[in-house]
């Protein structure tokens, strides 16, 4: 019983990893918009990299989810 309670807490804590991804997404899009505002001609180029970068940053958050799964399968 104690084990499963600890597992639940651990899973909840692993979800905190999403915060980092949130900061990353904010920085990514903020900087991208800044770049486009500075140089509107580069919008196509920049937006291509936004989406690639977004996928990478999002994946970081999902590594936390994987940790949750690992705890889940152990608990």
């Amino acid at each position: 019983m104690e084990n499963s309670a600890a597992a639940l807490i651990g899973m909840g804590l692993a979800a905190l990893g999403f915060a980092g991804s949130g900061v990353g997404l904010g920085t990514l899009f903020g900087k991208a918009i800044e770049a486009i505002a500075r140089q509107p001609g580069a919008e196509a180029q920049v937006s291509k990299y936004i989406w690639i970068g977004m996928a990478f940053v999002e994946a970081i958050a999902l590594y936390g989810l994987v940790v949750v799964f690992i705890i889940m399968s152990k608990g």
Binding site: I52, A55, L62, L65, V66
Partner: protein, 261 residues
Amino acid sequence: MTLISSAIASEAAQASAEPKMDPLHHFEVHKFVDLSLFGFDISISNSVLWMWIACGFAFLFFTQGIKGGKQVPGRLQSLVELGYLFVLEMAEDIIGKKDGRKFFPYIFTLFYFVLFCNLSGLLPGSFTPTSQIIITGTFASIIVGFALIFGFYNHGLHYLKFFVPSGIPVLLMPLMIPIEIISFLARPVSLSVRLFANMTAGHTMLAVMFFYVLTLPIFASWLPFGFTVVFTGVEIFIGFIQAYIFTILTCVYINDAIHMH
């Protein structure tokens, strides 16, 4: 969707008990036919079945698209040509004109295999093969292993220089070389986990929402239902983006093996 069916199923299974949320239920693999070849398990499961269906869709999409081969393309043919040129451009941009052409069939197949596997999970009652870490892991390890072997084949033992960063003082080498090696070893892990986690997370989110659609009273259940509608669109987008990322990273790894940084 599977998600609905799984939610219904879990409810049906515990009709007497309190409905219990089980959002990972639809990721379960069930063997239909037990087969084995020289002691190796080659059973056919729902994962395998949907992999075939996805491959069939991909093949049908292309063969239907180029049927007739009109000089003035119709809608489907335009789409097929667009999809072809998209991957060709990606390969040629990253690997280079000549080598890109050489590896193009593999990259092309990989992209459409992953893309159709990603998208097949959005069909009602379906299964997402790419949400299985073992499948993404298989592809990722084959890709990275192939890149490693190809690098040694191309450059011989010079390929070991790949792990020595340039422009770094010799004193830092004992620190930097292990980091480079670890980051190389992390490649298949990050490549497979990225795809698997994205697919799993999206579908889990949908399953959670469908659970609330079915269990909440009618005046509140439209809210999660609307969310699932929106999120299905997001899932299509994510399916494309993740297939793109998976393929583009494959191109980058192959390029590393050919050109060494």
